[in-house]
Symmetry: C2
C-alpha cells in the first residue's frame, strides 16, 4: 500500500455535483446518451480534468479520454473508466461512479504531484445504456471490435435519429480512430446492481468475469378450444404447457449455485379469457459463468420443452459467451482490497459492462461496490459513502500497482 | 312415437340454402347481427314460414316468432328456436340448426295437416352471438329479464352504432313487447360446440343444464429485478408464481369430473426479457354444473393464490350461476330420443345459449347434436346429415309430446 489515498468526501461531493446534471424530481438522473444532459455531463467532466492538467482525447464514437502522462513514454496507460450516460429514469451511480473514481484518482495524483510510471487515463464510453440507441455498450463495443464504426454511428432511435448525427450535434464527434488506442490495463469500478455484496456485508467485490448469456424465443403450441365446452382431458392447453415450462426453467437454474434463468415476457393467443390458449410465446434468459455448464442448461431447456410439447419451438437468438477477466488485473484488485482491509469476495457479474468489450483488446477487470437492495436502473438507486470510498481506494491502489515499473 | 317424422334430406337442403346467405369463401357464414346479411337471413325465414301459413310476430328487440295455431286456444305454445345471427367468421350450423329444425317441424305438421293441441312457435332470437353488439344472448336476455329493453336497444358496436337503430334500418324493429309473450315450453336444438358426443359416439345429447361460470382477474406481485445480477434465491419472480398458479388452477378443475378451468390471458410487467417480472396479471375462468362444487373451486383458487403470493389479488368479476333445465322438457327430450333408438347421453352445456335466459320465464330445455371435433365459431364448423336428422326427429317427437293435451 502506498502513502496515497483517495479523499472519500471529495469523491462523494463530486458524484452529487455530477448528479445535478439531468437530475430528476424523484432523486435520480436522466442523462440519456447524446442528449443535451449528456453533453452537459461530458462538459463538466472535461472541465474537471482540464483543471488538473489532463489532455482530452475524443474518438469517432465520442469515447472521451482524459490523459495524465507517466514517467515512461514506452508504457501503455492504465485506464480507469465506465460511462456518464444513464437510463431515462436512472440512478446517480450506475456508470458515473466509475468515471468519478477515475477523476478522484487523477486528483489524488495531481495533489501529490505523483508521477506514475505508466500514463493514467480515465475514459467515459459513449452510450453504454443503449436506452436511446440500442444496443447497449456501443462505444466500448466499437472500440473492442464487436461492432463496426458504421454500425455504431448508424445506431438509430425509434424516431430514426442517428447516433452519429447526435454526436455532431452535441459537439462530441471526435477525429481519433475508435479502437487501436493503446490500453495497458483497464479497470472499471461499478456498483454491483445486484444484492450479493450487501447480503454478504462486503464493501468490495473482485469481479472475476461476466456470466455467459443465452437468449431464446420459445413458442408452445396447443389447440384453441372453448373454455366451457372442452373437458379437461380433451384439451391441449398451451398456457398450462407454458406454465410447466416456466417452472422447469426456473428449476434448471436453481439446480446450480451460479445459474440464472428468467422468463420475462409471455403472450398467449388468441388472448381470450374463455378460450383455451392455442399458442403461447415466451422468452427465456439463461446465464452461467461456466460455458460448459451454460451449454448443459441449454440442453436441459431444449429437452424439457420438447418433453412438454414435442412441437415446441426453442430458438436461441443470442449467445454472449462467459468472460474471464485478466488475471493480472483481477489479482491487483484482490491484493489491493485485501491490503486495504476490506476482505473482498470474488463475484461474477450478472450484467454486461464496457469492460466486457474492452477485455477483447486489453487486459481488463472490474470491482464492484454494493448498492442498496441491489436496486439499479431506477431513480431510487443508492450507495453509501463508506462503500464509495472503499471502491475508490481499492481502485487507486490497484492502478498504482499496475502503473509501477514492470 | 307418432307417425310423424322429419324429412332429413329437406332439412339438410334448407340448412345449406340458408347458409348461402352470408356465405364466406372458406365455407362458413358471416351473418352478423343486424347486418344486411342478417336481414336477408330473416327475410328468407319469414318467406319460408309464411309459405306454410304461419303468422309472424316481431317484438321490440327484433325477436322473430313464427306461429302455427293449436287446437286448444287456452294452451300456451310449445316454442322451438335458437338464432340466425353468426360470428363474423362463423359456421353454418351454430344457431341456424335450431331455427331450421323448428321450420322443418312446422313443415312436417303442415304436410300432414296435423293440428297439435298447443300452438307451435319457432323463434329466432336477436343478437345471440354478441359479436357486433356485446353482450351475447341479448334478445333472449331482454325477453328473460336479464337486461332491460333500454340496455338491449342501447347496445353499441365499437364504432358507436346502436342496436336499436340497426333494427329499424333493416326493418326488424317490432311493436310487440319484448318479454311477457306466453311460452308453454321452450326447446332449443343446437350443435354441441364441444367434443363430448363425438367422443362417445352419440348422435344426441340431452342437455340437463348449463355450467355455472366464475370469472376472475388475478394479479400476482413479485419484485422487479435484473435477470443477470439477481441470484435465484434472492428473487421474487411474479412469472414463476403465476406459472405455479396456472398449474394449480388446472389441477383444481382436473380433480373434478365436470370441472373446467382456463387461464386464457396473461401479461407480465415490465415485459422485458432480462428483467424478473415485478407483476403478472392473468384471467381465470372456472366452471362447474353444481353451484356448491363451483363455490369450492372458488375457495381453492383463493387459497392457492394466497399460498403462492400472500399479496395476490383475486377479483371475481362475473358469476353466472349454474342452470338446471326444466324436468318436463328434459324428460320429453330424453324419452323421445330413447324411443327413436338413439341411446342419448345426458350432457351439461359448457357454453351459454338463449335457453338459459328463456329458462328464467318458461320451462326450457335443449338437445345437442355432435359437431366435428367440437369445432365451432369457425368457418370449418361441420356436422353430418345423420346427426342433423336425429336431432330434428327427437325435437319433433318431444314437441309433439309436450303439445298434446295435458
Amino acid at each position: 500500500m502506498t502513502d496515497l489515498h483517495v479523499d472519500g468526501q471529495r469523491l462523494w461531493r463530486t458524484l452529487h455535483e455530477l448528479a445535478e446534471i439531468g437530475a430528476t424530481d424523484a432523486g435520480g438522473v436522466a442523462r440519456v446518451a447524446l442528449t443535451d444532459a449528456d453533453k452537459a455531463g461530458r462538459d463538466q467532466f472535461v472541465e474537471w480534468v482540464v483543471e488538473i492538467g489532463c489532455a482530452v482525447h475524443l474518438d469517432r464514437m465520442g469515447n472521451l479520454f482524459a490523459r495524465r502522462e507517466g514517467a515512461d513514454p514506452e508504457r501503455d496507460p492504465v485506464v480507469i473508466g465506465s460511462h456518464l450516460d444513464s437510463q431515462p429514469t436512472g440512478g446517480k451511480f450506475d456508470g458515473a461512479y466509475g468515471v468519478m473514481v477515475g477523476l478522484e484518482i487523477l486528483r489524488v495524483l495531481d495533489d501529490a504531484g505523483h508521477r506514475t510510471n505508466a500514463p493514467i487515463e480515465v475514459v467515459s464510453w459513449t452510450n453504454e445504456e443503449g436506452a436511446r440507441f440500442p444496443p447497449a455498450m456501443l462505444g466500448s463495443g466499437v472500440f473492442g471490435g464487436e461492432f463496426s464504426l458504421e454500425e455504431g454511428l448508424g445506431a438509430v432511435t425509434t424516431d430514426g435519429t442517428k447516433l452519429g448525427d447526435e454526436l455532431v450535434r452535441i459537439g462530441y464527434s471526435g477525429t481519433e480512430p475508435c479502437g487501436g488506442r493503446p490500453v495497458g490495463y483497464y479497470l472499471e469500478p461499478h456498483i454491483e446492481q445486484g444484492p450479493i455484496l450487501e447480503a454478504n456485508g462486503k464493501p468490495v467485490g473482485v469481479v472475476t468475469g461476466v456470466q455467459g448469456i443465452r437468449w431464446y424465443d420459445v413458442s408452445i403450441k396447443g389447440f384453441e378450444s372453448h373454455a366451457g365446452t372442452t373437458p379437461m382431458d380433451r384439451r391441449s392447453d398451451a398456457m398450462v404447457s407454458a406454465a410447466n415450462l416456466i417452472s422447469a426453467t426456473d428449476d434448471i437454474a436453481k439446480a446450480r449455485v451460479d445459474g440464472r434463468s428468467t422468463v420475462g415476457v409471455i403472450t398467449s393467443m388468441p388472448g381470450s379469457r374463455n378460450t383455451v390458449a392455442g399458442s403461447v410465446n415466451l422468452t427465456v434468459d439463461l446465464r452461467h459463468p461456466d460455458p460448459d455448464e451454460l451449454s448443459r442448461m441449454h440442453d436441459e431447456l431444449i429437452e424439457t420443452a420438447s418433453a412438454i410439447d414435442p412441437s415446441a419451438s426453442v430458438e436461441q437468438i443470442w449467445y454472449s459467451p462467459p468472460v474471464v477477466f485478466n488475471a493480472s488485473v483481477v489479482e491487483a484488485i484482490r491484493k489491493s482490497a485485501a491490503e486495504s482491509g476490506f476482505e473482498p469476495i470474488d463475484i461474477v457479474s450478472g450484467a454486461g459492462h464496457d469492460a466486457v468489450y474492452v477485455n477483447r483488446v486489453a487486459p481488463a477487470g472490474m470491482l464492484f461496490i454494493p448498492c442498496e437492495e441491489g436496486l439499479s436502473h431506477n431513480e431510487a438507486e443508492s450507495i453509501v459513502i463508506e462503500h464509495s470510498t472503499a471502491g475508490a481506494e481499492v481502485t487507486l491502489q490497484a492502478v498504482l500497482r499496475l502503473a509501477e515499473p514492470a
